[in-house]
Every structure is written in C-alpha cells, then in structure tokens.
Symmetry: C2
C-alpha cells in the first residue's frame, strides 16, 4: 500500500486539518466530533442543508460546503457512516429557525444514524426533514444497502437544493425539490481497479488485468457482473443504456450529463467517456443542457468512471446555475 | 494497460471532442490542427495568452482556456510538443492588435516549436512575446530539457497573467509580469507509481512496492533519486526544503501554496500533504495567503504529488483573485 498518509488512523483527521488550513475563508472544521461547516453558518433566515457519509469519496461531501450548497458535512471514517453525535452536532451548529434538511445517501448505516440524529435534533426543538438519495440503477440490494445505493445524484441534489436554500426556499419546498431531483436522476459506475482502505492495507477486491467490475458501488461493493475490458465507447453504452431505460428518459428531455471519475482515472479519459455518453444521449433524443466532468464522488484511488443523468426542470436548471462558492464547485458571483 | 479509451491514436482527438461537447459555452475546439480557444476570441482590445504542450497533463492547458485565463491552448500528442503549425494557427485565431504572449514550459521541443511559430506569426505582422517557465528545482538538466523543467508554476503564471490581460494590461506588462511570476515560483514533485503512455502500452518506468521517484518530471523523467517510501509529513518536508532554499523564501514572505496531484492520487491524500506543507511554510515564517489543492497538472494516471510555492506581490494576488471562467478553474463573477 503506497499512500500519501502518515498513519491509517489519522487519515480523516489530518485531511480535515488540511482542508481547514487550505480554505479558512470558506470553512470551519470541528474535529471532535468531526464536521465541516460554512464559515458564516448559521445563516440567518436560511434553511440549512446537512449531508455526510463515509470518508474516501472526496471531494464529497466536505468539498461541497459553502455558500450556495451545503451548510455542513459530517465525514465518517473511511467507508464508514458518520455517528449520530457527529450529525447532531453539525445540525445544531448550522440550523436556525428555518430548520434543516438532511440529504442522506441510501446506505443502511447512514440512514440509521441520520435518522437517530434527526430524532435527537427534533427533541431539542429543531425542525428537521430528511431525503434519501438512491440513484444507482446497478443493483437492487447491495452489501451495505437495502434498496438502491446513493451515488452521483447526491451531488446534483446538494447543488440544486443549495441554490434554492440560498434563494430563500423554505424547508418543505427544499425537501420537495430534493425528492424531485432524486426521482429524476439515475447513475451507474464501472471499476477498472480496486482501492485500498488505509486501515485494511490491501485491496478491497481483486480484478484481473483484463477485467472490470460493472455496476460497482462506491465502497467497492460488487456490481452486476464482472466482465472483460471494453473500449470507452462500449463502456459508455453499457452504462448509459440501463440508465436511459430506468427512468425512463424520453425524447426531448433536457438533461444534465455528469461523467465522474472514481479517483484514479485521469481527466483525459473522462472526456473520452463524456464524448461517447453525450453522443448516446443525443442519439436517444435528449437535449444535453448542462454538463459536469471530473472526479466529484470517488472511491479513494479506484480507477473507473460513473455516469449520472438528471432530467432537468426549469427550476432545477435555475438552481444548478446559481452561484456557489465551495472548495470543489465554484461558479458565479 | 486498462484505460477508458477507444484507440491509442485517437486519445487526444476524442478527448478534445469531449471537451467541445461538455463546454460549448466556454470553448471552441479545432481539430486539425488541434487547438482550443475561448468561444469569444479574439477579444477586442485585449492582449492574448497562448500556451500549450504535450497532452496527458489535463486539465493543463485546455482546461485553463476561458475568460480571465488563456485565450488558446495547443495540445500535442501525449507527452509530445505541439507542432509549430498548431501554435501558429492558435495564435492567429486569437490575436488582435494588442498582440499575444506565449507561455512556454521549458522542454526542448516546446521551446523550439513555440519559437518557430512566433517567428512565423511575426512575419505575418503579429506582435508576439514569449516567456519560458522553468520552476522545477529537482534537476538542472533532464531527459527533455536543457535547464530546469516547467511544471506547476505554469498554471499560476497563466492565471495571474490572465487576470492582468483581462484588466487591460499591455503585452509588455504581461511579459514582465509573467517573468516576475516565474522568478518567484518554485516546484518539486514525487511519484509513487509510473504511468502508461497509451501508444506505448506499458509503464514508462518501474517502481518497486516500497519505492518512490523523488524529483519526478511530468513525463516520468528521472528525478533526483529513487528512495524508499516515507510518510506524508516526511515527503512534504523532502519537497518543501529544496523549494524553500532555492529562491530562497524568507521570513515574512506572503505565498501561494499549491499542492498538486499527479493524476492517480485521491484528494484526501492531497489534503494530508497540504496540511504538512502548510505547517512547514508557517514554521519557516511564511504567510500562506492563498492556496490551491487538487490535480491541476498531471501525468496521466501517475500517483504522486508536487508542491509549488509562489512568493506573492500585491499585483499577483490581485490578479490571482480576479474572476476566471474556465473548465478547470472558475471563480468570481
């Protein structure tokens, strides 16, 4: 295991200290319990957005904390759910009279711990809503999930709801919008290599020189099947077809096409995948109205890609375009 | 070789087509000869900035084309200099009465071909200046270089000069500012793994399970020495000390600290390196005024990191902070 770390049990804490040092203008980082919040939170008159999950998926979620996106993120240990006390502390720190929305990826531990934290927060008098994201079409149940897993659609939900919250949407509207995004977004991924959890010290699974894991989960959970290596065009097609059929996406739909890298895949390859996915979307009659290409939800140093497709409403497009100022996504004023 | 590609000889063209499809609002892409330009170039009344170099370092340089940064970028084949006709065509396409500055990394082929293109452009009546970036302190001469190599400092020069050009700086001032940046910036990198050039099909070099190449070049050129694996803190120190001694950086200097990933290293590790580098800078008496953390100048899927340190003037800070709207760096209005 060759990693730029000091010790497996200090990975998350030291990365958080690095984030705090790099982005003092944007973030405040608490270490015990661990959470990252907007430097200016709680923002008066605004409903708060709180997310979180295991570490190892950076920049998700800490990299999306800032104006126009999340108010707080709770990083668990690598590939491990954050604890209820982390989530409660983060929620408390950023929530005012407008309440808070928990955006939760559908993994059993995450759902349970966010749920417990929400109950405790409500007992303290905070207004809480929660939306569960489950956009991965690869498998129905999985190693850590009952039902579908939450993956790349989470980032789109965070950005779009973040834009709405900044514009003054109330908690009920935010929860409704977040459910709308989840209902309109589908994803699927493929791994070319495994990854190594620091405290485990060896790869989570083994893949042969000519194999890929099709439908991979972001923690290295098994996907649909292990298949031989294919061209980028063929891989894009193998990912896009199940996505297109699932919603289903229909001729004329305006979409956001997001091609994501899993951590160890260089950007030049992601653009080759994007090219193919864009052509497939066009051939399906979709209008690709917005795009995102880069490594935004990762599995440590895993090589591979995932594709996320969101059917846009005018409301979603408006809040996608709204300014955001976070370490990992930043545009507008 | 497991890569998300279709064929080795189509990698650059297809990635460019992907960029064109993903960023139609920002970029116009020409394929033969290959160059990427601002969608609104030539910008009337503005001096143009043109850069380029081998592909495989994405997002450099094509990802930095846009308002507030480059007017055009010329991507060569992977790890291969762009040709004079590419550079000439790109320069012609974006250069108006205010002339153009070529920002050139110090590799023999790049310098020769940019020089030839500049001569041809001048014969056509264009005003041209060129600045060579050579910020890598690792080695004096190298596989593809006489003198020091140009690495991460290039991106800082492109952003800062891009801000100045947007604000109306004339060609002479831009060339002076670019030389100032180059004179004030130092870098060094380390590789944990090799990378595989698509048309070669096997790793450029071999590294043992417990080895790293210290002072690596961005094309996999040998560095200062091959050493055993170390902790992130120790690696940051091994990179920072030669950088600090070289300029030298002095107590009280305000600096921009840039921790870069080489393509296969996940962001969580870069923040651990950033934490260490920031502490070393502070212990040296420097004021870390600006930061950049991410994979901005890469070597395909190589695992590893480089550190770049720039001593800031007020002028540089102002133009670093100025708005830019490119695929890979985006902030402000």
């Amino acid at each position: 295991m060759k990693k730029l770390i000091n010790a497996p049990d200090r990975v998350v804490t030291e990365a958080l200290e690095g984030m705090a040092a790099a982005h003092p203008d944007l973030l405040t980082v608490h270490l015990d319990p661990a959470y990252i919040m907007r430097a200016d939170a709680p923002v008066k008159g605004k409903a708060a957005l709180v997310s979180g999950g295991g570490s190892g998926h950076e920049p998700m979620h800490g990299g999306y904390v800032g104006r126009g996106m999340l108010d707080a993120a709770c990083p668990g240990a690598v590939f491990t759910s954050p604890t209820p006390d982390q989530i409660l502390a983060a929620t408390r720190a950023v929530t005012g009279e407008q309440g808070a929305l928990h955006i939760v990826k559908n993994y059993t531990g995450d759902v349970m711990n966010f749920d417990m934290a929400a109950d405790l927060a409500r007992e303290e008098g905070l207004r809480l809503e929660a939306v569960i994201i489950d956009d991965d079409v690869a498998v129905k149940d999985s190693l850590y999930t009952a039902g579908r897993r939450g993956v790349g659609g989470t980032i789109l939900a965070e950005k779009i709801c973040g834009g709405a919250a900044e514009a003054g949407a109330d908690l009920g509207s935010l929860a409704r919008l977040c459910r709308d995004v989840n209902a309109s977004v589908r994803s699927m991924g493929v791994a070319l290599t495994s990854c190594t959890v620091p405290h485990v010290g060896k790869p989570s699974f083994e893949l042969g020189e000519d194999e890929m894991e099709f439908g991979i989960g972001i923690h290295g959970e098994p996907g649909r099947k292990r298949v031989g290596m294919e061209s980028a065009d063929r891989i894009a097609d193998m990912l896009m077809q199940p996505i297109l059929e699932d919603l289903p996406f229909r001729r004329g739909d305006p979409v956001l096409l997001f091609v994501n890298g899993l951590g160890g895949t260089p950007l030049i390859e992601l653009y080759i995948v994007y090219r193919a996915a864009h052509r497939i979307a066009q051939a399906h009659g979709l209008t690709v109205a917005r795009s995102l290409v880069g490594s935004y939800i990762t599995s440590l140093e895993m090589a591979g890609t995932s594709i996320t497709l969101l059917r846009l409403t005018d409301e979603m497009t408006r809040y996608w375009d709204a300014p955001c100022v976070t370490p990992a996504l930043r545009w507008g004023a």
